[in-house]
């Protein structure tokens, strides 16, 4: 199976000559999105779903066509002469399995033979904008808009998407947006047109034709044919703008644990990641490599450098002071890094008053002090939290701290670029290939059309590769040298000059009535990024709430980190709810169940399921404790129970039980893998994750002091899936992470009576 298909050179005229623009002009907005059709040279059907008005297919054809004999069925699907169906996937594959699952969704609606389905990464072209993802990010409230409003929103968001280069993989959105709103529609539309073509040819009613395993069958007449035979004739069929999608009872691939298509290449060394980029026509040993160093303190620049020693180092080709960073270009990465290590530099002064972690938290505390009990900007609230608190029978207060965190994907940041003859080629691991193209265009002063972004597999991302700082650096180096250069960051550069999950401080005042019910909830914190609802304990019925943000500046730059604000807010909120439960003398899981508000059937379901899985009510041994937390994020509700053994005085993780409700899970095994990984990611942060500021710079540098959970520390993990049928479906990549830290803190409290209000926990038991 070919995962990474080289994008052929564009040969624009051939496709446009054979396109059928009149069909596209005849197309109109529909609930499911715009569908446009055309044909490739050779007479094959081509349909685009959710792409811009007009006829994009002529332009797209040469980008995705692989050779003669291949037929493009639409911009998301291609059928070859050998009847192989190729799903063209607009999302990046960073381990979340999106390539495979999106292909499953398309192939199911198309009734394709799964053993004959291949996956192709969509070209970095504006027409592969992921409009529904743009929409889910920018205006999620429109996802379930009434039919009459759909055409407007669809058109608007496709335009916004193109303008903003939203070819984005993030927000746990691939399946729930692109899969549901585009891949399935594309598969269903293509199937219907193939059936129509066969019906005309055979002179039988379309309703009598069945499709199975990429074959059209009319039993009464004994006719049958592979899809490839009718791909061209299907182009002449009328388009159904709103093809009927399958009911879940008819799914053959959706909901099944089909093995991921990207995995075979990942067990024999053949999978190509960004860092493995090879320049066509060039031996790897002839390529030049760059090691880079940015100033240690954010916002500063290189004033001068002393490169005398480096100039004489083996293999060195160029030494560059780029202002915002220093680069050494050499005949290999190691030689480049060795030479870079000898360079001394002077940096400009930092304007930030923050020099240390303590300074940063003092800034947070000052902002919270200033906001008091009712200041700052209101994020959410109802009733009167202050007066309810004043009258409460029991009052509790707590202040929680979360540190800065680096993403630390296993593949260090890297980017290969070639800038010559008015063109630029970029090879890199990115979650946002179109934005990377725009960033490069801006840095080079070139038109985006002159830039090609090749983006193979990502060796992890977790939000880090939503940023294009490294793309800008690489193209500037390649432009300066005028020959291709592969820039690789050391792990130290990756850890210390990163963009970070922000630190934060969050203060709570809670009031319980005589019966132990939480009736007042007053919370203020300093960091609000996304999603907006992350700070709101909306699943609970608390009559008086005041949730406010008192913004404070961050010394280290922000970027989205797996689950974004939920990563801190999940810890803050679910720790505080646990404190309330204990103040009430209640069982923490029962307390949560009793407090659930309106429309929380799914939350009740996962809590009850996780209680059963973990045998929650069974008494634990001395020194062993269980803690629970529940967080809804990215459309999925996840409840986790963690069991920890504290008998040695240090936390030893024994078990994690997770119950999840994403509405409907398209690939259960892949979903479980994501939740398992999200839990380990959350536990790593809970036990170890911390980036300190010392002298204005990030302190931790590599895996010896920025620790990761390892095999010997990993607990047993069991994940249960509840398919409640909620629409739209929820995500998989992020929802496993937020409950992990609070569930562990709550478990440690259950085992020891020690309440942990500051992450990470590990060092507090050293």
């Amino acid at each position: 199976m070919s995962e990474q298909t080289d994008i052929p050179e564009v040969a624009p005229e051939t496709a446009d000559e054979t396109a059928k623009p009149e069909r596209s002009r005849a197309a109109k907005w529909s609930r499911r999105g715009f569908i446009g059709a055309g044909v490739l040279a050779g007479g094959a059907l081509l349909i685009g779903v959710g792409v811009r008005p007009g006829n994009p297919v002529g332009k797209l054809s040469p980008l995705v066509a692989g050779g003669t004999g291949e037929e493009l069925v639409n911009s998301w699907v291609k059928i070859g002469a050998d009847n192989i169906v190729t799903a063209i996937i607009p999302h990046c594959e960073m381990g979340q399995g999106a390539h495979s699952v999106l292909a499953q969704m398309l192939a199911d609606e198309l009734d394709a033979d799964w053993s004959q389905v291949e996956v192709m990464q969509a070209p970095t072209d504006g027409s592969y904008v992921v409009s529904d993802t743009a929409r889910m990010f920018v205006a999620p409230f429109t996802m379930n808009a009434a039919d009459w409003i759909e055409p407007t929103w669809e058109g608007l968001f496709t335009q916004i998407g193109r303008f903003a280069d939203v070819m984005i993989t993030g927000g746990s959105s691939s399946i729930r947006s692109t899969g549901q709103y585009q891949m399935r529609v594309a598969g269903a539309a293509a199937r219907k047109m193939l059936v129509g073509a066969a019906a005309d040819e055979w002179g039988v009613p379309a309703s009598e034709i069945v499709t199975r395993d990429s074959t059209l069958i009319h039993e009464a007449s004994g006719n049958s044919a592979p899809y490839s035979e009718f791909a061209a004739a299907a182009a002449e069929q009328p388009m159904d703008h709103s093809p009927k999608l399958k009911d879940p009872k008819d799914y053959r691939l959706m909901g099944k644990s089909k093995r991921r298509t990207d995995i075979p290449a990942k067990v024999n060394g053949t999978a190509d990641f960004g860092i493995d980029a090879k320049i066509p026509g060039m031996e790897p040993s002839d390529l030049s490599y760059a090691a880079v160093r940015r100033p240690p303190i954010p916002g500063t620049s290189v004033v001068s450098m002393d490169a005398e020693t480096a100039k004489g180092m083996p293999g060195v080709q160029q030494i560059l002071n780029m202002g915002s960073f220093i680069a050494v270009v050499a005949d290999g990465y190691w030689n480049a890094q060795q030479a870079l290590n000898t360079i001394t530099a002077e940096y400009s002064d930092s304007e930030s008053p923050i020099k240390s972690t303590a300074d940063q938290f003092a800034a947070f505390a000052n902002a919270l002090d200033a906001a008091g009990d009712d200041g700052g900007e209101k994020a959410a609230g109802r009733g009167n939290a202050q007066s309810a608190y004043a009258e409460a029978a029991t009052k509790i207060e707590a202040e929680y701290k979360a540190p800065f965190l680096a993403h630390a994907p296993m593949e260090p940041i890297n980017c290969t670029a070639s800038v010559k003859d008015g063109k630029c080629d970029i090879w890199t691991s990115t979650q946002v290939p179109l934005m990377a193209r725009s960033a490069a265009a801006k840095a080079l002063g070139m038109d985006a059309d002159a830039i090609t972004v090749h983006h193979p597999f990502l060796g992890g991302a977790f939000g880090r590769r939503l940023e294009n700082d490294y793309v800008t650096m690489a193209v500037r180096i390649a432009k300066a040298t005028s020959y291709p250069v592969k820039m690789i960051w050391s792990r130290e550069e990756d850890t210390q000059k990163a963009l970070y999950r922000p630190a934060d401080l969050s203060r709570f005042k809670g009031g319980l009535d005589a019966g132990g019910k939480l009736i007042a909830y007053n919370n203020v914190f300093t960091q609000r990024h996304d999603p907006a609802e992350a700070s709101v304990p909306g699943i609970y019925d608390i009559p008086n709430t005041s949730i406010r943000v008192a913004e404070a500046d961050l010394h280290l730059p922000f970027s989205a980190w797996r689950s974004v604000d939920h990563s801190q807010q999940g810890f803050f909120i679910e720790s505080f709810i646990d404190e309330a439960a204990h103040a009430a003398g209640a069982d923490p899981l029962e307390y949560r169940l009793n407090m659930l508000g309106a429309n929380t059937e799914r939350h009740r379901g996962v809590l009850e399921k996780v209680a059963q899985l973990s045998n929650w009510s069974a008494p634990g041994a001395e020194g062993i404790g269980k803690g629970v937390a529940i967080v809804e994020s990215f459309g999925t509700v996840a409840a986790e129970v963690i069991e920890v053994d504290m008998t040695s005085g240090k936390p030893k993780l024994l078990n994690v039980w997770a119950a999840t409700d994403a509405g409907y899970v398209m690939n259960p095994d892949g979903f479980r893998n994501q939740i398992e990984g999200g839990i380990v990611f959350g536990l790593t942060a809970a036990l170890y994750g911390e980036i300190d500021i010392v002298g204005g710079a990030a302190k931790q540098s590599n895996f010896h002091d920025y620790k990761m959970l390892r095999m010997n520390e990993t607990p047993a993990i069991e994940v249960a899936i509840i398919n409640s049928g909620t629409v739209p479906v929820g995500g998989a990549g992020e929802p496993g992470t937020p409950p992990a830290a609070p569930a562990l803190a709550n478990a440690i409290f259950a085992a020891t009576g020690k309440r942990l209000r500051e992450m990470p926990f590990g060092k507090q038991f050293a």
Binding site: G97, R260, K266, P314, G332, Y333, R491, F681
Partner: protein
């Protein structure tokens, strides 16, 4: 000139003997299945075998390979590309997510099972805890090692639901 074999083939490389094996394999020989993760032998992404023993190629100088045999992820499959038991288990248990660390994980697991065909959980911890997986696939790595050892049944595609 340093002479060694890699996956059974003799190579003579003109490079600094102090250069770590990782960069020779990736950049001089163009074999990119072995990955750079940390550069200080902390993560195991660069694990290869030197005379059969798993080593961190990011921290082992080329000079140490003189006259010895290197095996990389590209060399653990059968001659016709047939996957070995560890690789097959990695597929049946659907281990990888991003996959970047998995070459190193498979090299470490292959060496473990060669020396210890029926490892306990403690044996697996001891052999595998030098390899970081940021995606957090440890549970599946453990299971796949047991499947490769024949201790556990492989998960069938149709029963994984």
């Amino acid at each position: 000139m340093i002479t060694f074999t890699i996956n059974g083939k003799t190579e003579r490389v003109d490079a600094d003997p102090a250069m770590p094996i990782l960069w020779v394999v990736r950049e001089k020989l163009g074999m990119t299945g072995t990955k750079f993760g940390c550069g200080i032998a902390q993560c195991g992404a660069c694990t290869v075998h030197l005379d059969g023993e798993p080593i961190r190629s990011c921290s082992m100088p080329l000079g140490a390979a003189e006259g010895r045999a290197i095996t990389t992820i590209e060399g653990v499959s059968g001659e016709d590309g047939e996957l070995n038991a560890v690789q097959q288990a990695w597929i049946s248990e659907q281990v990888p997510q991003c996959g970047y660390c998995q070459s190193g994980q498979i090299m470490a697991a292959t060496a473990l099972l060669r020396d210890n065909p029926a490892p306990t959980d403690e044996d697996i911890d001891a052999a595998m805890s030098g390899n970081i997986c940021r995606c957090g696939t440890y549970k599946r790595i453990r299971q796949a090692i047991k499947v490769a050892a024949g201790i556990e049944q492989a998960t069938d595609e149709e029963t994984a639901a």
